[in-house]
C-alpha cells in the first residue's frame, strides 16, 4: 500500500524525502530526545566532544575530537532517521487512505426530511445523512433506510461490491454504487476507523506498549550502568597518573557501550509493527492490542467462514438402487438451474464433472424457489415432471414408498459430518446429494504451526456435534465446542482466562459483542455490526476471520524483533571493549601489556577507537530493514525459535563487530586515519 501510494504520485516524492529530512533534524531537539535515554546520553556526549573540539590546544587532538564529534552526530542522525523513515512509510500509507475521503461532503438530513450540504468534518455522532449513488460515505455509520451496493475497495482493496441494508455498518471512504441510503453517523470526526487507522500508521497517537515500556526501562538502567562504568573509569585510571585517559575517548567508549542500536531503532520497530498490521487491512485500536497478540494462548474460531469456506459444497451423488449416478446427476442439475445459491451452483458443477458436459439445454418450466415451509426447491417442467431437491424428511414425506437405501445413505452422510439433500422426480426418490463443509486450504498446516508455538485453537460453532467434530478433525484444531451460542462463547473465554490464558476470537454479530469485549484480542469483521466493531479491539476491513492468524504473527514478530536487536546490541559490546580498552591506555607505559588484548590487530589507538565508533554508528542504518520489516519469523516451538535467534543475534552479534571493526580500521588506514 505504501509503495503504491508513492508510485501513484511521483510529484509528491521529493516532499516525502524533504519531510523525512526535516523530521530527522527536528528530532534532534533535546526535549524530544530526552524521552529516549540511550540516545539522549549520546547527544550529551556529542555536546561534550564538540566543546572539547572547540577548546582543543593542539592540532592533532582537535582533529581527533572533531572526528569523534562527527561520528557521534552521524550516530544521532541515523537514529532520528530510522524513526523518521518508519513514520514516513506510515504517512505514505495514511495519505492513500486519506485520499479516499478527501473533500467528502455530506447531505445532512434535517428534521422534516429536508437536507443540506455540510462538510464531512462537521458531522457528529447521531446525525443522519443521505447518500446517493456515486457519493463517498462521509463517515462511519449504520444504514438506517434503503438498500444499496457499496464499493469498499478504497478501504479493503476488495473490488467486489457489497450489498448494504438497514442495520449494516458502513465505513467512511467507501463509495455507494447504486440506489440511495440513509445512514446514521456513529463516530465523531477523528474517531472513525479510517481516522484511527491513519493516526496509528502515522505514529501520531502512538503510545508505548507495556513491553516497550519494560524494555525502555531496562535499556535506561543498562545505560546508567555504563555511564557509571565510564564515569568512574576516569578517576580510577588516575591511579596511573593525572592524564591517563582522554575525555573524548571516554565519551567514545560510553557511546559504544550503551545499547544505541536498539535505542535508535526501538520506536521504528513499534511504528513499523503498526504499519504491518495496517497493511493487512486490520485497524488496531491500540499498539497494545497488537502486542498482546503475541502472547495469545487460545484462539477461538468460528467454523463457517473462518475454518470452512462460507458454504457447503456438493461432493458426491448417492443414487438409490436402480438409478444410475448419471441420471441422478442429470436430474439434480436440472433441478438446480434456477438455484443461484453457492450450494446450488456446486451441485451443477459436480454434475458437470460427472456427466463430462459443460452445457445443457435450458429446461423450459417454472422454477420453484426454496421456502422455509417446504424446505425444498426445484422446477416444474413443461412436460409436467416435478423435479425437487431438499431436506431428506421433506422429500420422503412427498414420495411413495421411499427405498431404505435413501434413508441409510442420508444417515451415513450426516454421520460423516455432511448434510444430505434428497432428490426426487414426482413421487420417485432418486438418491442423495452429499453437501459438505470445505476446510480452507492451508489451514491445517497453519494450525499445526500454531500448535508448535503453543497456541491452542478451539473451534466454536452452533452446528451439531457430529458435523463440528468432523470439520474439527479435518482442519486439525485442538478442541471443538459444538452447539454453542454466543453466551457459551463468552463462558468459554472466561473459563480460559480464569486459567490465566490470553484469548483471541473473531466475531461480527451484535450478539458476539460481549465475547469480543471479553477476549484479550477481539477481531471484529468490517462487515459486522457497529456493536461488534466497538466491542473488539481490532477490526478487519477485509472481513476475513483467518486474518487473526496473521495478526498473531505480527505481534510475535514485534517482540522477537525487539529481543533480537537488544541481544545484538549487547553482544556487540564485547568486540568494542577489545578495540577500545587497549587503545585508551596505550600511552601509559606500565599498561603497555594491555596491547595483547588488541586481538583484532588494529593499527593505531586512535584508529581503533574511531573504528569501533564508526561501526557502532553504521550498524544502525544497516539494521533499519530488520527493524522496519521485522526479524524473519517462522512459527515453531519456543526452544527452536530461541536457539535460532540466539545464534543469529547473540552469537553472530559477538562475531560480526570483530570483523566489522577490523574492516573499518583497514579502510581508515587507506585515508591515513589509522
Amino acid at each position: 500500500m505504501a509503495t503504491s501510494a508513492v508510485e501513484h504520485q511521483p510529484a509528491k516524492r521529493p516532499s516525502r524525502m524533504g519531510e523525512m529530512a526535516r523530521d530527522t533534524i527536528l528530532k534532534l531537539n533535546p526535549r524530544i530526545m530526552v524521552h529516549n535515554p540511550v540516545m539522549f546520553v549520546v547527544e550529551v556526549g556529542t555536546v561534550i566532544t564538540l566543546w572539547l573540539t572547540a577548546t582543543a590546544n593542539t592540532g592533532p587532538s582537535r582533529e581527533y575530537d572533531g572526528l569523534v564529534t562527527i561520528i557521534l552526530i552521524l550516530t544521532l542522525l541515523f537514529a532520528t532517521f530510522a524513526e523518521a523513515y518508519a513514520e514516513s512509510r506510515g504517512r505514505a500509507q495514511a495519505d492513500s487512505l486519506r485520499q479516499s475521503r478527501a473533500g467528502a461532503r455530506a447531505r445532512a438530513l434535517k428534521d422534516g426530511g429536508a437536507w443540506e450540504w455540510v462538510e464531512g468534518a462537521a458531522l457528529r455522532r447521531g446525525m443522519r445523512v443521505q447518500i446517493e449513488a456515486g457519493d463517498t460515505v462521509p463517515g462511519d455509520g449504520v444504514v438506517a433506510e434503503g438498500v444499496g451496493a457499496m464499493d469498499e475497495s478504497a478501504i479493503t482493496g476488495e473490488s467486489a461490491s457489497v450489498i448494504k441494508s438497514p442495520g449494516d455498518s458502513v465505513t467512511g471512504g467507501t463509495v455507494l454504487l447504486s440506489d440511495h441510503l440513509v445512514v446514521e453517523i456513529t463516530a465523531d470526526p477523528g474517531q472513525t476507523f479510517l481516522d484511527r487507522m491513519i493516526a496509528l500508521v502515522e505514529g501520531a497517537e502512538r503510545q508505548k506498549t507495556p513491553n516497550e515500556i519494560a524494555l525502555s526501562a531496562l535499556l535506561g538502567v543498562l545505560t546508567l550502568i555504563f555511564v557509571m562504568v565510564v564515569v568512574t573509569l576516569g578517576p580510577i585510571a588516575h591511579y596511573y597518573g593525572p592524564h591517563v585517559v582522554n575525555t573524548t575517548t571516554l565519551v567514545a567508549l560510553l557511546v559504544c557501550l550503551i545499547p544505541t542500536t536498539i535505542g535508535a531503532l526501538l520506536s521504528a520497530i513499534g511504528i513499523a509493527g503498526m504499519n504491518r498490521v495496517a497493511k493487512i487491512n486490520v485497524v488496531a485500536k491500540s499498539g497494545r492490542a497488537v502486542e498482546v497478540c503475541g502472547d495469545i494462548d487460545t484462539l477461538i474460531l468460528d467454523k463457517t467462514g473462518t475454518i470452512t469456506i462460507g458454504n457447503r459444497m456438493a461432493t458426491e451423488f448417492l443414487p438409490v438402487p436402480g438409478v444410475s449416478p448419471e441420471e441422478l446427476a442429470e436430474v439434480s442439475w436440472i433441478a438446480s438451474t434456477a438455484d443461484t445459491t453457492p450450494e446450488g451452483r456446486s451441485v451443477v458443477e459436480l454434475a458437470q464433472r460427472i456427466l463430462h458436459r459443460a452445457e445443457m439445454a435450458a429446461p423450459s418450466g417454472e422454477p420453484v424457489p426454496f421456502s422455509a415451509n417446504t424446505r425444498m426447491s426445484g422446477i416444474d417442467l413443461a412436460d409436467g415432471r416435478r423435479l425437487r431437491k431438499g431436506a431428506v424428511d421433506a422429500i420422503i414425506s412427498m414420495v411413495n414408498s421411499p427405498p431404505a437405501e435413501l434413508r441409510n445413505n442420508a444417515e451415513r452422510v450426516a454421520r460423516d459430518g455432511g448434510t444430505p439433500l434428497a432428490v426426487a422426480v414426482d413421487g420417485r426418490a432418486l438418491g442423495i446429494i452429499r453437501l459438505k463443509d470445505i476446510v480452507k486450504t492451508g489451514l491445517k498446516e497453519r494450525f499445526a504451526e500454531f500448535r508448535a508455538m503453543g497456541i491452542r485453537t478451539v473451534m466454536a460453532t452452533g452446528d451439531n456435534r457430529i458435523t463440528a467434530e468432523v470439520i474439527a478433525a479435518e482442519a486439525g484444531v485442538d478442541d471443538v465446542l459444538a452447539e454453542v451460542n454466543p453466551e457459551g462463547k463468552l463462558a468459554l473465554i472466561q473459563k480460559e482466562q480464569a486459567e490465566g490464558k490470553l484469548v483471541a476470537m473473531t466475531g461480527d454479530g451484535t450478539n458476539d459483542a460481549p465475547a469480543l469485549a471479553q477476549a484479550d484480542v477481539g477481531l471484529a469483521m468490517g462487515v459486522g455490526t457497529m456493536a461488534a466493531k466497538e466491542a473488539g479491539n481490532m477490526v478487519d476491513l477485509d472481513s476475513n476471520p483467518t486474518k487473526l492468524l496473521d495478526v498473531v504473527e505480527v505481534g510475535k514478530q514485534l517482540l522477537i524483533t525487539r529481543g533480537a536487536l537488544t541481544t545484538f546490541s549487547i553482544s556487540n559490546d564485547i568486540a568494542k571493549y577489545f578495540a577500545i580498552v587497549p587503545a585508551m591506555f596505550a600511552a601509559v607505559p606500565i599498561l603497555h601489556g594491555l596491547s595483547a588484548l588488541n586481538i583484532m590487530g588494529l593499527k593505531t589507538p586512535q584508529g581503533a577507537i574511531l573504528s569501533a565508533l564508526i561501526f557502532n554508528a553504521l550498524i544502525i542504518p544497516a539494521l533499519i530493514p530488520f527493524a522496519v520489516r521485522g526479524v524473519k519469523y517462522r512459527p515453531q516451538s519456543a526452544d527452536r525459535l530461541l536457539l535460532r535467534n540466539i545464534f543469529n543475534w547473540g552469537v553472530l552479534g559477538v562475531i560480526i563487530p570483530f570483523v566489522g571493526i577490523w574492516g573499518i580500521d583497514h579502510v581508515l588506514g587507506l585515508f591515513g586515519l589509522a
Partner: protein, 565 residues
C-alpha cells in the same frame, strides 16, 4: 595434579553433591512446617519463643514488612555490637586485658559482622576479648546469616506463588533447625580434629631457640563451625584458616569447605521443591557449578605452574607457594579459596594478595558474580536476579512477553531487578573511584603498580559482596577505609536484597500464566548456556575495564617479566 589434590577436590565437590538433596529436602520440610525428626526436642522451645515475641507460624508479612523487620533487627544487632565492643575493657572474659575498641573500628566491625561480610580491619588475637569474640561476634555470626537466609526464603516463597512468611519465624527456625544443630555437629568434629576450644588465657611457650612465644587460643572450634556454616568468614585470628589452630589438617580443610557450601547449595535445591521446578533448580546448580569449576581451574592451574619470572630462573617445578599454607598444599588451598569466594564466606587459608594475577582475577570473579551459590538464600536471590534479566533480554526472542515461573515480567519487575543488578557495581566502582581520587584513600596503598590498584578494588568488592576477605597490603584500618568500606557493606547487604524482595512480591501478586510449548523453557541445556553466557557478558561489560587496569595489567607485566622494587 597430586593424589591429595584430586582427593580433596573430590571430597568437597562430591560431598556437596551428595548432601544437597537431603539437606534441601530437610529445609523444605522445616519451612513448609512439615514434621521432621527434630520437632520433638525443639518445637516446645520454638513455641515458647514465638509466644514471647507474639507471632505464630502463619502470621504472614508483606515484602515491605519483611524487609523492614530484616533491616531493623539487623540495626539493633549492629548497635548492640558497637556498644559492647566500645566497652569491652569493662566486660568479663578478657584474660589478655584488651582495651575498648576505638570508634572507627567498632563501627567497621559491627557493620561488617552484622552484614555477614566479616571484613576484619583488626587481628582478632590482638584486639578482641574472649567475650567480644563469642558473645558479640560469634553471636552475630549465627543470627546475621540466618536473617539473610530468611529473606532468601521469603523471596523463594514469593516467586513460587506462596505467601512470603514471617521474618521472625523464619529467623528462629533457621537458627534452631539449621544453624545450631549443624554448628554442634561441625564444632564437635573440629574439636575432635584438634581445634582448641577454651576460655583459658593464651599460652606462653619457650621455644628451642630460647625465646618466649605467645600462642593465642580461645573458643576456636565453635567459632570455626559457624564461621563457615554461616558464610561468615571472619577469622578468630588474623591468619584465619591459614592458622593451624583454626584449620589444623586436610580433614578440617575439606570439612570447612563443605560447611561453607552446605546450606547455600541446599537453598538452590529447596528452591526447586518450593517452585515445583526441580529441573530448573538443577539447571541453576549446573550454572553455578560451572562457574565454581572455572574459578577452581583459574586458581589452581596458574598457581601450580608457578611464577613465570621465577620459573625463568630455572627454579620451576614447585608452583607459586608464596602466601600459601604449605600443609594444605596447592590442591587443598585452591578448593578452600574457590569455596570461600563462591559462597561469599571470606575466610581464607592463604593470602589472596600473593596469588598470581589470573588466580587473583578468579577471586574477584567470585565476588563480582556473587551468585556462584553465594551466601545462603542471598546467593540464590542474586542468581534469580540474573535469571530474570536473562529471561527478559532473551525471552523476547521467542515472541512472547517474557515469563518467569509462569508470571509475566513487566516494567516494574524488570526495572527493580535491573536496579538490584546496578547497585553492586555502583558500590564497587564509586567506592574505588573515591579511594583513588582522595589522598586519604591513596594513603592506604602499600604496593606499587597494578597490585596496589587491585587492593583498593578488592576492598570495596569484598565489602559490596559481603565477602569479607581481603587483599593484604591495603591499609584497611585507616579511618577512610573503615568508614567507606563499612558503608559499602551496609548498602551492599540491604539495598539489593530489599529491592529483590519487592520483585518477589510483585511476581506473587500476578496472575499465573500456563506454560505452553510457546513458553521459553528454563530447564534445558540451552537455558544453561544462555544464562551462563549472559551472566558472563553482563559482568564482563561492567567490570572489564577495572580488571584490565588491575589483574590483567599485572598479568601482562608478569608475562613481560616486569619487576617492582
Amino acid at each position: 595434579m597430586t593424589v591429595s589434590t584430586i582427593v580433596s577436590w573430590a571430597v568437597v565437590i562430591g560431598g556437596l553433591l551428595l548432601l544437597l538433596k537431603p539437606m534441601g529436602t530437610y529445609m523444605y520440610k522445616v519451612f513448609t512446617f512439615q514434621p521432621t525428626l527434630l520437632d520433638r526436642p525443639l518445637k516446645p522451645l520454638e513455641n515458647l519463643i514465638f509466644r514471647i515475641i507474639h507471632v505464630t507460624r502463619d502470621s504472614d508479612m508483606t515484602a515491605w514488612e519483611y524487609g523492614v523487620s530484616f533491616v531493623l533487627t539487623n540495626m539493633v544487632w549492629a548497635l548492640m555490637a558497637y556498644t559492647l565492643l566500645r566497652v569491652q575493657g569493662a566486660l568479663p572474659f578478657n584474660p589478655e586485658h584488651f582495651s575498648n575498641v576505638n570508634a572507627g573500628l567498632a563501627f567497621n566491625t559491627s557493620a561488617s559482622f552484622t552484614t555477614n561480610t566479616n571484613w576484619q580491619a583488626y587481628s582478632g588475637e590482638n584486639t578482641m576479648s574472649y567475650f567480644s569474640q563469642f558473645a558479640v561476634l560469634e553471636f552475630l555470626q549465627f543470627v546475621t546469616p540466618a536473617s539473610g537466609g530468611a529473606v532468601g526464603l521469603a523471596f523463594i516463597r514469593g516467586v513460587s506463588g506462596r505467601k512470603l512468611g514471617n521474618f521472625f519465624v523464619d529467623l528462629t527456625l533457621l537458627l534452631t533447625r539449621v544453624l545450631l544443630p549443624l554448628a554442634l555437629i561441625f564444632g564437635v568434629a573440629f574439636v575432635a580434629a584438634g581445634v582448641p576450644d577454651t576460655l583459658a588465657p593464651y599460652l606462653h611457650l619457650h621455644t628451642l631457640a630460647g625465646q618466649t612465644q605467645i600462642v593465642p587460643r580461645g573458643p576456636i572450634a565453635g567459632w570455626e563451625a559457624i564461621e563457615h556454616l554461616g558464610q561468615n568468614g571472619g577469622g578468630f585470628t588474623n591468619a584465619n584458616s591459614a592458622n593451624p589452630l583454626e584449620n589444623p589438617s586436610a580433614m578440617t580443610n575439606v570439612l570447612q569447605s563443605i560447611a561453607m557450601g552446605l546450606v547455600p547449595v541446599a537453598f538452590f535445591y529447596m528452591f526447586g521443591l518450593f517452585s515445583g521446578k526441580k529441573r530448573l533448580a538443577w539447571t541453576l546448580i549446573a550454572v553455578a557449578g560451572t562457574l565454581f569449576l572455572a574459578m577452581l581451574a583459574m586458581i589452581y592451574f596458574p598457581e601450580a605452574a608457578g611464577n613465570p619470572i621465577i620459573n625463568a630462573l630455572g627454579l620451576h617445578g614447585h608452583g607459586n607457594y608464596v602466601g600459601t599454607e604449605l600443609q594444605q598444599g596447592m590442591g587443598g588451598t585452591s578448593i578452600f579459596e574457590t569455596s570461600t569466594m563462591s559462597f561469599t564466606t571470606g575466610s581464607v587459608a592463604s593470602a589472596h594478595d600473593s596469588f598470581l594475577p589470573i588466580p587473583g582475577l578468579a577471586v574477584f570473579l567470585g565476588m563480582f558474580l556473587n551468585m556462584v551459590f553465594g551466601g545462603k538464600g542471598v546467593g540464590l536471590m542474586n542468581m534469580l536476579m540474573f535469571v530474570i534479566l536473562t529471561i527478559f533480554l532473551m525471552g523476547l526472542m521467542v515472541g512472547r512477553t517474557p515469563e518467569f515461573l509462569g508470571k509475566k515480567i513487566e516494567a516494574k519487575e524488570v526495572s527493580l531487578t535491573a536496579i538490584a543488578f546496578l547497585l553492586h557495581p555502583l558500590l564497587i566502582l564509586a567506592g574505588s573511584a573515591l579511594a583513588v581520587s582522595t589522598s586519604a584513600g591513596m594513603a592506604g596503598v602499600f604496593n606499587a603498580g597494578p597490585q596496589g590498584l587491585s587492593e583498593i578494588l578488592y576492598g570495596f568488592t569484598s565489602g559490596a559482596a559481603n565477602n569479607g576477605s581481603a587483599f593484604g597490603g591495603l591499609g584497611a584500618s585507616l579511618p577512610f577505609y573503615e568508614v567507606a568500606i563499612g558503608i559499602t557493606m551496609i548498602i551492599g547487604r540491604y539495598a539489593s536484597v530489599v529491592v529483590m524482595l519487592l520483585v518477589g512480591e510483585s511476581l506473587l501478586q500476578k496472575k499465573a500464566v500456563p506454560e505452553t510449548s510457546g513458553t521459553m523453557r528454563t530447564d534445558t541445556p540451552l537455558f544453561w548456556g544462555i544464562l551462563l553466557g549472559s551472566v558472563v557478558v553482563l559482568n564482563a561489560l561492567t567490570f572489564f575495564p577495572i580488571m584490565a587496569l588491575g589483574p590483567l595489567a599485572e598479568h601482562y607485566l608478569l608475562v613481560a617479566h616486569h619487576l617492582f622494587s
